[in-house]
Subunit: 353 residues, 2 copies
Amino acid sequence: MSAPENSTPAPAPAESRAAVTLHDVAREAGVSLATASRSLNGSTRKVADEYRQRVIAAAERLNYTPNLSAQAVARGTSRTVALLVADIADPYFSTIASGVAEAAETAELLVTMAATERDPARELELVRTMRGQRPRVMILAGSRRADDPLGPALRAELDAFEQTGGRVVIISTNDLDFRTVLLDNAAGAHDLAVALAERGYRDVAVLAAPEGLLTSEDRLRGFSEGLASRGVALDPLAVERTAFTRDGGYEGMQRLLASGRTIDLVFAVNDVMAVGALAAVRDAGLTPGIDVALAGFDDIPTVRDVTPPLTTVAIDLVEVGRRALAMALDEPAPGSDAPVATRVVLRASTPGR
Amino acid sequence: MSAPENSTPAPAPAESRAAVTLHDVAREAGVSLATASRSLNGSTRKVADEYRQRVIAAAERLNYTPNLSAQAVARGTSRTVALLVADIADPYFSTIASGVAEAAETAELLVTMAATERDPARELELVRTMRGQRPRVMILAGSRRADDPLGPALRAELDAFEQTGGRVVIISTNDLDFRTVLLDNAAGAHDLAVALAERGYRDVAVLAAPEGLLTSEDRLRGFSEGLASRGVALDPLAVERTAFTRDGGYEGMQRLLASGRTIDLVFAVNDVMAVGALAAVRDAGLTPGIDVALAGFDDIPTVRDVTPPLTTVAIDLVEVGRRALAMALDEPAPGSDAPVATRVVLRASTPGR
DNA sequence: TTGAAAGCGCTACCAC
DNA sequence: GTGGTAGCGCTTTCAA
């Protein structure tokens, strides 16, 4: 490699010069460590303007960045929020995550993110690890389940976290009694069922997640009650349990079709599953919306673009993420104690009969 | 609130008992701080088994979690990777992110994530902030642009980071000369163009991002050259510049249709835009695939489910994320120096003519 | 092998 | 206002 230019620092294969410390800045500016600290990060200004300027100039010259870990140790508190989701690539979670990130940016907080892969053991382990960061806030957006044997352990872990000053926020359902951003899953599904019953559907089936997943159960229950309120019964045998994914939806729908049941409408408890179901219907040689009506839940962007566009229940997931952080920080937006609003969106996948 | 039970600590609204420290563990176990440290985190075992057990038991009893910030300060190195993306909710980036997260989990690294919103100033600011964490690795997946006036500043920032032992990995294009996970954008687009030219398309238009966005430019160039190699010319006037989003694709397509040009095929430089274009075609009363053929790039899950399914160029974005981290950690998977493979996927949106 | 103690980079208290 | 300096929780010499 040729000799470095004398202007900018060379691309440097030689690594590991130590990072610039506050100490360096203080020396460069000819002031004490304390003064340097106060000028750069100190809260109330108690530094003579001339010194402050000198310090700032020195910091700039040296391209100083405060060591956040050291600050966290010294201050006894960090500026991070830990976010746990089931699956980062799932649009439901990535949309929530983007809301959290947006709010964190405003609050000048850094977001640490990890995926539980819907595995309770992993979730527990992640909570422990994340706790090591001493984040200000921990947000759990994984889907909680009723029968989780690790529930108590998780709860204990979160309790310990809160007892040392941390804030926990759960998104969706409040089986654990921490702060919760409630999604009105049951009400949304109820409204959807009512709207669809009024469109004339009678032979209804549901694609739900395996028993115990609270979000799924709430939606199923709300939907069932909504139908009942219009005199339509949901046969328990018409509830197909399957994975909470597109492929789950596909397979569940196949089973439903193979069962030979008379079905005029299928409600999938989330949009991702509904999209899978749509594909299964088409692959079976049937026309979705005509031969079988289809509805989902969440209103992810995709459902607007499939054919026919899917009827669903819209929920502002970015807002859910924002609200989770606001709630943790005790900055409730006006009216944010109420569950996040939910809105039925009727599209061509459920034409009137 | 009633008196706490004497078994487990009460749910505690009263917060801020200090977190358990290694000191507490050492005392509880009746050993020195040093021994406690060595038993719990020390690398090579130099601790008598009996002590080690005592320490581990004590840690468990107290529900001790090492303070990661303190470890980072003491060790002079943290176990985090910083990830910058343009938009967390965009499937392109969330899929890459999930690959990074997966690899980070294996490497026992924590991921800190932030969104640049495609704003270079913001990106620069974020890099500075992230640098404060002293992460081991910094991964930039935002789309780089050729004319970015902040480029030199960004570069300087990243250089400074590398000079203090950090690793930078850029995803997609290497205009900055750091480690790069190359996506073979040009080759993929080239192959696509060839395949489509062979299907008989001649009057071709392109929906591209505003000039300067490297990913977009590479794909455009590759596509154009691919066409040329089969004797099809791409009229520069048939290249519509628009935002790198679904709505951008929609509007761009509208303009294309309004232009009155004869068009039998539109290539959008990414799938998100292609989906928008699809909607615009349909909203104009035309039938996508019949009246106008459509192709995209990335193979995001959605394009399989729209009607007609979209022809595109597939690229394993999870693998891209994994590879980015592996590259940073100097653990190149066999053959990972080559650009990530790209594969043309012909679907119904581009039937043979 | 173990423990005392000197840091790591930074903040905040306490004098001056 | 400013500058020592004692921590913050942890790791890692260095003696013992």
